[in-house]
Structures are given as structure tokens and as C-alpha cells.
């Protein structure tokens, strides 16, 4: 840009041909160019306003919607997965609970069985003990009865021998001895004892 004068000199040499618009300052707008510029700008602006920008905006809005839809879908899927996980966990807990219950029940049942068995065994042992006692009692009763008979006979015999008189009637003699013995029992022995004595007496 060094030498505007130089250019001006060149211009001066060919002036007349170049005319006003060549030699004028570059900061003065050329009317034709200004008009063309305004028209081009207006046409392009109109096209953009009418078609290009609305189309782009529609597309952007659509994309926004699509992205939001995608996010929503993803969120829904996540929620679903979460629900499934919850459900699974609940099921698992339930199953665990159930297992614990079953285990408890089994344990209780085992306990019960043991109890039952123990009770049975105790019962059995009690029965055995009772039977043993019974046997002992009956044996004793037998012995007592035998002894009673023998004692009666011996006593009568002894009494007869001592008294020297014969008591012929067996039945009367029997009744007398029994009565005597019962009196003895009533005076000295307890009730149970009396019963125990009385029942085996019936058995015989």
C-alpha cells in the first residue's frame, strides 16, 4: 500500500477511461453494488426465514424429543429392572423365611418326637415299674393270704390243741378267723393297706 500517489499517477495516465468510480475513495459505496448487496441479502434472508431456519428448528425439536424419549425409555427400563430386582429379592427373602420356618418346624417336630418318645419311655418304664410293683404286691398278697390261711389253720390248730376242743364247722371257723384278722387290720394297719389287702382277696 506504500504508494498511493504512484497509483494515482497511473490513474492519471489512464484517466478518462477509469472514470469517477475508479479514482474515488474506496470508502464511498458504489450504488449498484449497494443495491445488489441489499437485494442479495434480502433474498437470502427471506429464504432462510421461510425455509432453512424453520426446517432446522423442527429437526432440532424433533431430535430433542427423540433424545428425551430415549431417556424416558431408558428410565422406564431401569425402573422395570429395579422392580424385577425388588421382586426377586422379595422372593428370595420369602424363600429364606420359608426355609427358616420349615427348619423351625422340623426342629420343633423333632423336639416333639423326642418328647413323645421320652414320655412313651417314661410311661413304659412307669408301667413296668407299676407291673413290677403289682407283681410284688400280688406276690405279697398271695403270701399274705397263704400265710393268713396257714396262720388261721395253725392258730386254730394251736387253739384247738390248747383249748382241747375241736371246732368242726369249717365255715364258721373261717369266718371267725377272718373277722379276727380284720379287726387286727382295722386297729393297726392304714386304709391303703387295708384296700390292698381287700382287693387281692377278691382276686383270689
Amino acid at each position: 500500500m506504500g504508494a498511493i500517489d504512484n497509483a494515482a499517477a497511473v490513474l492519471a495516465a489512464e484517466s478518462g477511461e477509469g472514470g469517477f468510480w475508479e479514482s474515488t475513495y474506496p470508502v464511498i459505496p458504489h450504488p449498484g453494488e449497494l443495491i445488489v448487496g441489499i437485494i442479495s441479502f434480502a433474498v437470502l434472508y427471506f429464504l432462510y426465514k421461510k425455509y432453512v431456519v424453520p426446517r432446522l428448528e423442527t429437526m432440532l425439536a424433533e431430535r430433542q424429543r427423540t433424545i428425551e424419549g430415549g431417556i424416558e425409555r431408558a428410565e422406564a427400563m431401569q425402573a422395570e429392572a429395579k422392580a424385577a430386582l425388588e421382586q426377586y429379592r422379595a422372593q428370595l427373602a420369602e424363600a429364606r423365611n420359608e426355609a427358616a420356618q420349615i427348619r423351625d418346624a422340623a426342629r420343633a417336630e423333632g423336639q416333639q418326637i423326642i418328647e413323645e418318645l421320652r414320655a412313651q419311655a417314661q410311661e413304659e418304664s412307669a408301667r413296668i415299674v407299676a407291673r413290677g410293683e403289682e407283681q410284688i404286691a400280688s406276690a405279697r398278697q398271695q403270701v399274705v393270704n397263704e400265710l393268713r390261711g396257714q396262720i388261721g389253720a395253725l392258730a386254730v390248730d394251736l387253739a384247738g390243741r390248747v383249748v382241747g376242743e375241736s371246732l368242726a364247722d369249717d365255715a364258721r371257723r373261717q369266718g371267725t378267723v377272718d373277722r379276727f384278722l380284720d379287726q387286727l387290720d382295722g386297729m393297726s394297719a392304714t386304709e391303703g393297706r387295708g384296700d390292698a389287702v381287700a382287693v387281692p382277696g377278691g382276686n383270689r
Binding site: 504508494a3 504512484n6 449498484g32 448487496g37 441489499i38 441479502f41 433474498v43 426465514k49
Partner: protein, 260 residues
């Protein structure tokens, strides 16, 4: 580039008249080279934009992706961030038109078959600046009414004797300085950049054709600088388009700023 360097003549540096290139006719309404470039660029932009936006898909292709990148820059980082998300929608077409038109016209200064920056003729930047001027004046008047608009020029809380001075200054800024600077910036950048390119090209040519001996070697760095500055001009082309709409949106944003 069309400056004829006659053989063995003195070197004629490029200057302002190099940009006056009438193709048909003479005088104020001659058909000039820059007009042709401008019209071609407009038609090309219109065709490309209509074609690309005819079938837009949610998942963009390559062309659409680039368009969207540019549109996103204009719409979001300039329109929305500066004008504000409440009011920026109606101004997107204006900003996008300005951006694409300026960018492509500026790049025409470097793209080989044309190699003439339209914006180095002051008429075109002036036309664009007038567009912005009308838009922000109309928007301001429409928002506050003429009286409110004039009142709003002066910030409140000033001493009474300062008010007229500030009013005149602000009015001059609003009505004259802004469109003029908007025009001159774009024009000056493209004009000066292109003159610089011309200088390197013509200088290199001169040294190569008319230099004597070793002087011819100087043409190599000259041409090298030509390529370097061509690359630099691409940056300038983009930056000027960006700056133009940045300022336009700042002016528009001021309409919607509630204080001052």
C-alpha cells in the same frame, strides 16, 4: 491481480483502484466483478441450504452435520448466549444469513477461480450493516416506543447537566458510529488483507520476471508469504463473519437489556 505490470517497468504496488473491476457498463450502475461474485454466492448458498435442509434427519449425515455445527454456533453460542434465551428466536434467520453470507463471500477472496473478496467493496458490508441497523432500531422502537427508546439511551442517575451531552453521544453512537464501524471493520479487514495478498503476489511476480540476478530469488519468500497469508486470510474470513454477528447480536441484545 489484474494490474498490468508492463515489461521492465517500475513496480506498481496494488492499491484501491485494483478493486474497481467493472465487467459490463460504466459508472454508478455498472456490473462489477464483486456483484457477480455476490450474486453467485447468494445463489450457491440458497441452493445448498435448500438442498441440505430439504431432507433433514434426526441422525445427521456428513453435510447436515457440518451445517448443524455452523447453525449451532450461530444459534447457541451467539444468539442464545448473548441475546438471551427469551428473545433470540426471531433473530436466528438474520444472524445465520449474515454469518453464512459473510463467511462464504470472505472465503471467495482465497478460493482460486474467484479470488476476489466481495466485502472489499464497501457497498456490500454497508448493505449488511444497514440490515442490522434497521433490525435493531425497529426492535428498540417497537419495544419501548420512540420516546421510551430515546429516554432509554441515557442511563438513569446522572446529574441533570450531563444528560444532554450523554444523550447526544449515545444518539450518535446508536445512529452513526455503530453501522459505520460495523461496515468499516468488515470492509477494512477484507480490503487490507487482499491488498496484502496482492502485494506479495505482484511483488513476487515482479521480482521473478523483471528482477536481475539474485533478485529473482526474492520471489520465493514472496510467494511463500503469499501462501502463508492466504491461510491467515481463512482465519480472518471466519473471524470477521463471527465478529459481525457477535456485534449484531450485542446491539440487538441491548434492546432487551432492561437497565440502560
Amino acid at each position: 491481480m489484474t494490474t498490468e505490470v508492463s515489461a521492465a517497468e517500475e513496480f506498481v504496488p496494488p492499491s484501491a483502484p485494483d478493486f474497481w473491476q467493472p465487467l459490463v457498463g460504466e459508472g454508478a450502475f455498472a456490473l462489477t466483478r464483486s456483484m457477480v461474485v455476490m450474486v453467485l454466492v447468494t445463489i450457491g448458498l440458497a441452493v445448498v441450504m435448500m438442498a441440505v435442509t430439504r431432507r433433514l434427519s434426526v441422525v445427521p449425515g456428513r453435510g447436515q452435520f457440518r451445517l448443524e455445527g455452523m447453525y449451532g454456533l450461530v444459534r447457541n453460542s451467539i444468539g442464545r448466549d448473548i441475546i438471551g434465551s427469551a428473545h433470540f428466536k426471531p433473530y436466528i434467520p438474520l444472524l445465520f444469513t449474515l454469518f453464512t453470507l459473510i463467511l462464504v463471500n470472505n472465503l471467495m477472496g482465497i478460493i482460486p477461480p474467484v479470488q476476489f473478496p466481495t466485502m472489499s467493496r464497501i457497498g456490500f458490508p454497508l448493505a449488511l450493516a444497514l440490515g442490522v441497523y434497521v433490525v435493531y432500531l425497529v426492535a428498540g422502537v417497537r419495544r419501548r416506543g420512540i420516546v421510551g427508546f430515546l429516554k432509554n439511551l441515557v442511563p438513569s442517575g446522572l446529574p441533570w447537566w450531563v444528560v444532554p451531552v450523554v444523550f447526544v453521544l449515545e444518539l450518535v453512537t446508536f445512529l452513526i458510529t455503530r453501522p459505520v464501524t460495523l461496515t468499516l471493520r468488515l470492509f477494512g479487514n477484507m480490503f487490507a488483507g487482499h491488498i496484502l495478498l496482492l502485494l506479495f503476489a505482484l511483488g513476487g511476480e515482479y521480482f521473478l520476471l523483471h528482477g536481475e540476478g539474485l533478485l529473482r530469488v526474492i520471489s520465493i519468500p514472496a510467494f511463500l508469504m503469499f501462501f502463508l497469508f492466504s491461510a491467515f486470510e481463512i482465519l480472518i474470513a471466519f473471524l470477521q463473519a463471527y465478529v459481525f454477528i457477535l456485534l449484531a447480536s450485542i446491539y440487538i441484545a441491548e434492546v432487551y437489556a432492561d437497565d440502560h
